[in-house]
Subunit: 746 residues, 2 copies
Amino acid sequence: MRPVPSAFSGLALGAVLLVTPLQDPAPIRGFSPESSRTERALEQRFRAIPSPDSLRSYMKRLAARPNQVGSPYNKEGAEWLADLFRSWGLDAKIETFDVLFPTPRERRLELVAPTKFVARLQEPAVPGDPTSSQQAEQLPTYNAYSIDGDVTGPLVFVNYGIPADYERLERMGVSVKGAIVIAKYGGSWRGIKPKVAAEHGAIGTIIYSDPADDGYAQGDVYPVGPYRPKDGVQRGSVADMPLYPGDPLTPGVGATPDAKRLPLSEARTLTKIPVLPISYGDAQPLLAAIGGRVVPPEWRGALPITYKVGPGPATVHLKLAFNWDRKPLYDVIVRIPGTTAADEWVIRGNHRDGWVNGAADPISGLVALAEEARGLAELLRSGWKPKRTIIYAAWDGEEPGLLGSTEWAEAHADELQRHTVAYINTDGNGRGYLGMEGSHSLQQFVNEVAKDITDPETGLSVWKRRQLGTVSQARTAQERTALRSGADLKIGALGGGSDFTAFLQHLGVATLNLGYGGEGGDGIYHSIYDDFSHYTRFSDTSFVYGRALAQTVGTAVLRLAGADVLPFQFVGLSETVETYASEVKALLNTRRDDAIERNRQLDDGLFSAVNDPREPLQPPARADVAPALNFAPLDNALTALRQSAEGFESAYARAGGSPADAARANAILRGVEQTLLSDGLPRRPWYRHLIYASGFYTGYGTKTLPGIREAIEQGAWREAEQQVAIVAESLTNAAKRIDEAAAALK
Amino acid sequence: MRPVPSAFSGLALGAVLLVTPLQDPAPIRGFSPESSRTERALEQRFRAIPSPDSLRSYMKRLAARPNQVGSPYNKEGAEWLADLFRSWGLDAKIETFDVLFPTPRERRLELVAPTKFVARLQEPAVPGDPTSSQQAEQLPTYNAYSIDGDVTGPLVFVNYGIPADYERLERMGVSVKGAIVIAKYGGSWRGIKPKVAAEHGAIGTIIYSDPADDGYAQGDVYPVGPYRPKDGVQRGSVADMPLYPGDPLTPGVGATPDAKRLPLSEARTLTKIPVLPISYGDAQPLLAAIGGRVVPPEWRGALPITYKVGPGPATVHLKLAFNWDRKPLYDVIVRIPGTTAADEWVIRGNHRDGWVNGAADPISGLVALAEEARGLAELLRSGWKPKRTIIYAAWDGEEPGLLGSTEWAEAHADELQRHTVAYINTDGNGRGYLGMEGSHSLQQFVNEVAKDITDPETGLSVWKRRQLGTVSQARTAQERTALRSGADLKIGALGGGSDFTAFLQHLGVATLNLGYGGEGGDGIYHSIYDDFSHYTRFSDTSFVYGRALAQTVGTAVLRLAGADVLPFQFVGLSETVETYASEVKALLNTRRDDAIERNRQLDDGLFSAVNDPREPLQPPARADVAPALNFAPLDNALTALRQSAEGFESAYARAGGSPADAARANAILRGVEQTLLSDGLPRRPWYRHLIYASGFYTGYGTKTLPGIREAIEQGAWREAEQQVAIVAESLTNAAKRIDEAAAALK
């Protein structure tokens, strides 16, 4: 084995080859010089296989009709996909679960005062888009896991409906108690909006897509351009997934036929108040009828009205009733058995259910997964066999609540924790830059992969394009210098929002989530217009990024499945957690400084002094000043982690390359991520990862060091200090485990 | 005399008086303890005089009909005002000038392709607003000093039409050559838009008021609320005033009947291409017809369309023809002769012409001026006589180009430079915070005045309210600490845009510009809706801020006219110019760093790497890297200025109070501001102040150290260094003059 390759290795490669074509590039992390040569040759063959035409043909088939959970075409799609895998000689099976999946029975939204208006709640077919007219099979526009309700009340506009918006409303003297709130999509995961609204006493929530965010303000609307038309609606789940994802009736266990189920009344992830998503066509008459104060400037949308907060005089009646049925899920699972390390599993997944036709979400990612599988099948037919077992999964029921992946992960929890090396997720694909998120022990690994993939638009490596893109976005010279050093590009932290959640957050499996994006834009998310016609006119029209995704993820899978030593690297992890620790310390200091400042401003009479009597703002409440907290255990643990991470790098560089040593090290290495689990975060024990979680009040917005950070955010000082100790213990255990792996390597 | 009072003196005053009512407050700057007592008593009597009812009645009369330059009601208003002053026993006369003032003969704007639309170009009367229907007397909507033109061309949307917008267009591959541009109001003074458009080859300019800026996005539109209705238009001058203000035919000299006049063809401040302002009602069909690329997000307005840049397919025909007539100006001038220092003049002005009825602009400021004059008249009748001569001026023709003040200042240049102590300007008034701008030698003075005026809404001093308001806006703890130290609040620098311009920029008279504002908002600027009805419904409805303005400016006038030693203080000046010097040095460094970074990005291929082939952006041009410049002369001069300023403070503190010493010092002091003049800024010699100017490419946006700053901005390195030397010499002369004043005091 060789020392850690320089981060420039991928970049230098081309130049080196030009000058001395016979000299080998630096070996791939985890591979010896010799096994690296074999691996590179294998990968080169693999990357030649994925074909845009195949991707297009799969998408055409899979997105041809609405395929939501429980629909006929969903089941057909599972069977078609399993047959496709089998036609390539792969071992595919369908695993089923039974989950709660409510569908609308009645939806009514009307303005009852000061004028009358009945919301349309219907997305019309558009000319030139054949699948948009499949109305009989389309799910109506709704939010899954909203409770039933029949409420009438004054309307209050709450911006994005996140906690900060309610603080602002309170200063304006506006309460939502007994009111129906209307919130813009955006600013948080949608399920946060009804949760926070209910906490503030609202009786109903309407969520609409403002044209500022994905409608005409952004560009031409469909079918002229890619953005959301007047009557387009974003469906979506509003289950309280930051509590737990998956079937609301079977938290923590697989929703198998014989699973013990909660009664509906005890399902804690249903909303407390009824929720309905609407179009901006339906929202405009409601918003225009709201009176009261004009909104703060940053709350404005792009409708040609004066946005006001209310409450009233607009009064709305919202009536929702659902069929509270259980529906079957069909997860398609492909297993490629490993050889010398068959009990080590590399899992790769993408969901296959859409809200309607779902061409972009999820089919554009699913077709890359399928094309990877075809590539692996072709390699298998040519005699290759993976060292480790590879599992490809096409999940059902992601949209309502990560159902298919969560139930599968819960059902197989023990064996997954024992065997899984890593889980790689995708969830749709577009044009542009490679998005890389996940466990930071895989940061170096995924950077290395990215250096070997060619960007279709520029011919650069996707790593190089992303590096330069990040430089172009950097705000300081320091950031640019760091980026130009050639160090690994930082990967994002994962919270929730896709099928990696159960693997990472609940089981502690090292995870990556990958996908191309950042160029172009659209406004058809979770609508009937997310279909083949739209995708092939406006997104990755020639499927070259679909091919790049298949090449990227397939390469990652091959490397993970074939590496002599599993390519974990912990310096990136320790640096990242150090950054998070600095952030939570800074957060505490900022909260303290802000509290002191706010209290001083109250003492100084500042809020009365700046009060405009015609638009009065009530002074904020006196702030609780944060005490200093004992971060020493965390600092000590981070020191230990850093030392262990660096020690492991030395051991890896010096390792003799004995397969037995590697096998012993690998058995330890694949368990490191699990040392970062706890018994569960406060108030939501399903979430066990101590470094990453979806935010309790942000949803998609990842919270890093979530136990500590959310305690500080909520002013729970004692809990914050307890969480520091818990994280410190877990990092110390991680450090020990890494030391053991290093020792095994020698 | 006493040492400089602490900045908290105004604040401490109340408390001190409560505890020891017989103890005097600290003396007012420029007054001995004894004269200060007399002055305070006088001011107290004065401040009791201004009455909201009087202010309202003057406004009702003065804004009753359109009163633009050359209108019958303008002349009537001058006579009425002069008679009003005379009725109080004041010596009022009317001074006249003859100036070029074009008015529209023909205005036509139409979309000729791809569809037809003829712009309305007409503001309708609104119910409940009696003066909005005075159509026969209203000037049509137009921009004064646009040239005649009859042009047809493709339309290009240029955002605000400032230089940075054209850089962005160039990167998008869009040229305005041969095109008609449409720009939003805002982002610069309006006259910059046609100037920059013409420099880029455009053949016409349309300026419109986007509802994002002062229409429905901000609040309800008139007459429901105060904001700009669909057909409301902002009139305004587009003369190239950063070159020179005043009559385009008589630069530098008063436009008296016998003045030598340029032929119209040589008037350099007329636009190069025709310009027309329009409403958003007229703009929407034009903008909606523009194709091409979608605008950058920050260019979007609030119309319910997808904003695009063009060029075309929208093609417009713009035809403008004007009556190029000369019109009379009527400046109303009141003189209150001084006694012991009659050759020292304190001048106070506000214009009296509106674009239409002009209730807010300018009448709301003019009525305060009138009420001050009434107060002074009352004091005179009670036996008071000012030490210095006081001149009150109600300027005509401010709107088209600061005509009345500039011609008067040019006509009386020599005597004004010999005699004037200071000029105090206002230009309309609203609710909220005291805005203070001007010569920093008067910074301490105006802070001290502000501590003695009570804010009508909070009962705090207007100084205290502004301090707390500034604290509430501060972004850093350092800023807040500085503000809380009680030091003088920083006053803003003056560029152009109102009648102070000729006094400060051309004659070097120490200047203040004052007014209340910052609460509420409106969208009737320069429209027919700026009238009594609107003002009394939505602005300072009870005229309590009109009274506060009369109290503020009247107090300032009384102090300047009565001080033993003129209340200039130069530490504030030297600190301020030090800040400006730091800014221009930082600007140079930033330009250098930015140029190096941009060139590196070009070398690295960054712009190709981040290029989206579907929305291509051309790489920017290679940047010229700024050299280091010799700032040593400026630094040395600033050291000298600081020493002189501090030396003067010591001398002032130790001064014995002899009237002869004071008189000798005053004769020197009133000339200090003139030491900051040069022979003129590069390419615009009318502007002579070296510390402040309106920006050549920003207009309203003040440029401090304009010679140095604009040379750096334009990459004229040699000129920048020359300007450093010129500024250094002037500051050195200022320091010498201040030393002489200090010596005179002893």
